[in-house]
């Protein structure tokens, strides 16, 4: 390792958004001819750090050295001039262009515009590293892995020596992943420095030479892959448990409220996003849902709320009064409401799905009650009372009840949404990342509200990302991994390591377990 040249060196990089740190004094080295994995939970600052290197974010402080010389990178263009190329998780390609056109886009080399020559060079690059690509194929005809190939070749075409890949395998099948890894190994042998952002432990172990771990914006350390194991990496990734002192009562008379059995869902592209999910939500209990972002949390909640089509399986709701069972499968939200099921849903996308940003609090309250009122007229009185009550009870800071909610701070927007959903006196309350972007005070207000619902005998489902919060707030925690349930644990007895391992459990592992 010692005779290798350092390709990229980061020194004390700090980047903050508002008063939140994305990276705090992070230092890293990458050598030519090696694959470095950057490992960390959601929100640990992996992508932010790499965006700094790729010129998308400008760091608040810190230095970047490339091949020993200090580099100032202020735009993606600068990054290219230092031979740094990043392949983003969301591809940046023009759909109606073919591969060649996308690859040459934005290159101004004064050499004249010759697509044929470019095409030949693309085939050369592809041959050298073993890519399979059709330079004349339009992007819209391509599979995800082909699009990724175009992105990687684009970066190589521009002469990148340092390649950064942001979760490249998240969208690939296991076979495609193998092909990608072979290509990456060949590029490593060619002397390129490769950084791969990931949270899949088995990939880290099979692919990389070294692993750098980030946790909560800070750099934890770098280990040589050959000298480590899953357990050590998980511990580095999740860290030591911190005490939050969130209030938690014992569940009172828990009884089944929602029984989900064996549901399967596909997304719009036809990819399976939920596989054989079964669980039970009980009244008077908070069920936590943990998992890496995009493991199916969103689809699961939307399936229950009637927003996501279910291929197979059942969702049974048990009425608390009559004990009658009703099937919610493939009902619209309106049908579910008409059945007398009081389901409240606080979606992840507050201003997109939850509230209308340009309307005031009163109007947003009416989104749930517009069906009431005589004939074609709306009743504005009740929503107005409700709005005033929520503002007072949840201490929402707003000039008045008619101010567009878009102008409120994130925490206040969330309080409006949670307040409205609670006011509907739900029997099932689902919240996706309700404290995301909120400060500590606002977060605790939300925890209190969830606890209050729990005491009222509501079945609460809480999707969270901070494991410390999940462990202290919930009664049981269900862990999702790649659209499957990798485990349901008792929150009072579990550890962060246990959940961390379940979260990163690969598809193969869970198959073996069965």
């Amino acid at each position: 390792m010692s005779e290798k040249r350092i390709a990229l060196q980061l020194k004390n990089i700090t980047k903050s958004f508002g008063d939140k740190y994305a990276n705090k004094n992070v230092s890293l080295d990458v050598y030519h001819g090696e694959i470095l994995s950057v490992l960390g939970e959601n929100g640990s600052g992996k992508t932010s750090l790499m965006n700094v290197v790729a010129g998308i974010y400008t760091p608040d402080s810190g230095q970047i050295f490339i091949d020993g010389k200090e580099a100032s990178i202020n735009s993606p263009k600068d990054a290219f001039s230092f031979n740094v190329g990043m392949i983003h998780q969301h591809f940046k390609l023009v759909d109606v262009f073919n591969a060649t056109e996308n690859i040459v886009l934005g290159i101004d080399d004064e050499k004249g515009f010759d697509l044929k020559k470019a095409r030949t060079r693309i085939i050369e690059i592809a041959g050298k590293y073993g890519f399979i690509i059709d330079p004349d194929k339009k992007i819209y005809d391509m599979s995800v892995s082909e699009k990724q190939t175009v992105e990687i070749i684009r970066v190589l075409y521009r002469g990148a020596d340092i390649l950064i890949l942001d979760e490249p395998t998240a969208v690939l099948t296991p076979q495609e992943t193998q092909v990608l890894f072979d290509v990456l190994r060949r590029m490593r042998d060619d002397g390129k420095a490769i950084i791969i952002i990931t949270h899949k432990l088995h990939e880290v172990l099979s692919l990389s030479d070294r692993v750098a771990v980030l946790r909560k914006a800070e750099y934890v350390g770098t280990v040589i892959t050959a000298q480590t194991n899953e357990k050590q990496l998980t511990e580095m990734m999740v860290g030591v448990k911190t005490e939050l002192n969130i209030h938690r009562d014992e569940p009172v008379n828990p009884s089944s409220r929602l029984i989900v059995s064996d549901i399967n869902c596909k997304n719009r592209e036809g990819v399976t996003v939920l596989k054989n999910i079964s669980f039970e939500a009980k009244s008077g209990e908070i069920l936590g849902i943990a998992g890496i972002a995009g493991s199916g949390q969103r689809e699961l909640l939307e399936a229950v709320a009637g927003l996501q089509k279910i291929e197979s399986g059942d969702i049974l709701y048990i009425d608390p009064k009559t004990q009658e069972k009703e099937d919610l499968r493939n009902k619209t939200p309106m049908q579910i409401r008409d059945m007398g099921v009081r389901l409240s849903f606080v979606p992840e996308d507050r201003l997109g799905m939850g509230l209308v940003g340009n309307m005031g609090i009163v109007d947003n309250m009416m989104l749930r009650s517009y069906k009431r009122g005589p004939l074609i007229f709306l009743s504005r009185k009740e929503p107005k009372y409700l709005a005033d009550e929520i503002i007072e009870r949840l201490h929402i800071s707003t000039p008045d009840a008619e101010t567009p909610v878009r102008r409120l701070s994130g925490g206040n927007v969330q309080k409006v949404l949670v307040g409205r959903e609670i006011a509907a006196a739900p029997t099932v309350f689902m919240a996706a990342y309700p404290v995301r972007g909120l400060d500590i005070g606002a977060s605790y207000t939300i925890y209190d509200l969830l606890n209050e619902q729990k005491q009222n005998g509501v079945a609460v489902i809480f999707v969270g990302e901070d494991l410390d919060v999940l462990i202290e707030l919930c009664d049981r925690i269900m862990v999702l991994s790649g659209g499957t349930v990798s485990g349901i644990v008792n929150a009072r007895q579990t550890t962060k390591e246990e959940i961390g391992l379940l979260m990163t459990k690969s598809k193969e592992d869970s198959k073996n377990a069965q």
Binding site: P76, K77, L93, V94, D95, V96, G106, F113
Partner: protein, 324 residues
């Protein structure tokens, strides 16, 4: 009679061709400029105003300036409106539809006001008319008359008609074959991608919108100086600007197909003159043809599924880097 109809159809087609080529260039950058009808009015009105002021301020107007001054005035007038549109929609990210409609209203109002009152302001009387300058715009090649029907069909138009066709073909070539053309299309399809690739999105949008506006403005100039023979009539340009926008869809955003589209619509626009014995009532029905065809074209194009024939993906939307 067929030849006369065809050559008149070409005369009708030229303003439409200028307008649609200009709008295609603009839309390729992702800007849906509904101000084009107003900009075309403005291009025509500014041109005739320039010609009138020049003709009345010198004793013996020179032929070259009789062409250059209206041309320059037209470019400044339409370019200015396109610049206002660009500033509002690109820099201030105002709603493109509202801005475009405002520009159209303004352009038409401005033109009708000055077209009607310029003569009075300059202490003249009668209609705003520039016969001399118009003569130069209408000048055909000397041998055109001797070629009979071929001459009438191909060589009986002023120079702007040929400019229109050259611009349309050149634009098609520019969009398909040049680096700048590729990058302009990328801006209209996916500005975030273009931005990440190091393309200056705002620059491309400004240039495409202003140049597109200027090209469209020449359509107004041709109409006034050549087609109507250099005299202003209030509202004379009619709704040709809107037809030009319809042709953009007909041509599936390809300037070379726009030539065909303009000829078809130009022919339909005057078809009612040639209904002959069918009587006036039928003639009135024929006046509806361009609009009926527009509706049919819209229905057909929205059913077509080929991706290349769809509008630029980011058409009508503002681009703001920090939103990604």
């Amino acid at each position: 009679m067929i030849v006369t109809f065809l050559s008149r159809a070409v005369g009708q087609a030229i303003p439409l061709l200028f307008g649609s080529t200009g709008e295609i260039i603009t839309e390729k950058s992702g800007n849906l400029n509904l101000g084009i009808p107003g900009i075309m009015y403005m291009g025509g009105c500014a041109g005739i105003m320039g010609a009138y002021i020049y003709e009345h301020s010198v004793a013996v107007p020179s032929p070259a300036l009789c062409v250059l001054i209206p041309l320059l005035a037209s470019i400044i007038g339409s370019g200015f409106l396109a610049l206002i549109y660009s500033f509002l929609t690109i820099t201030l990210r105002a709603n493109q539809n509202v801005t475009g409609l405002a520009i159209t209203t303004f352009g038409i109002g401005f033109s009708d006001f000055f077209g009607g009152s310029l003569v009075g302001m300059m202490d003249g009387d009668g209609q705003l008319s520039v016969m001399r300058s118009s003569g130069y715009f209408k000048k055909t090649l000397p041998f055109a008359d001797k070629l009979g029907e071929v001459g009438e069909l191909f060589f009986s138009y002023g120079f702007l008609a040929y400019v229109a066709i050259i611009i349309a073909i050149a634009s098609a070539w520019f969009l398909r074959r040049t680096r700048a053309g590729l990058q302009l299309r990328a801006v209209g399809e996916n500005p975030a991608t273009a931005d990440a690739a190091g393309i200056n999105v705002a620059k491309y949008k400004y240039l495409a919108t202003c140049i597109g506006g200027i090209i469209a403005g020449l359509g107004g100039l041709y109409f006034i100086m050549d087609y109507t023979g250099g005299s202003w009539t209030s509202g004379g340009f009619g709704d040709r600007g809107w037809l030009a926008i319809a042709i953009v869809i007909f041509a599936t955003w390809k300037p070379n197909v726009g030539i065909l589209g303009s000829l078809v619509f130009g022919g339909l626009y005057i078809a009612y003159y040639y209904t002959g014995d069918l009587g006036r009532r039928v003639g009135e029905l024929f006046k509806m043809l361009p609009y009926i065809v527009t509706i049919i074209v819209l229905v057909i194009t929205s059913m077509r599924s080929k991706k290349e024939n769809q509008p630029p993906e980011h058409l009508g939307l503002p681009y703001f880097r920090e939103e990604r």
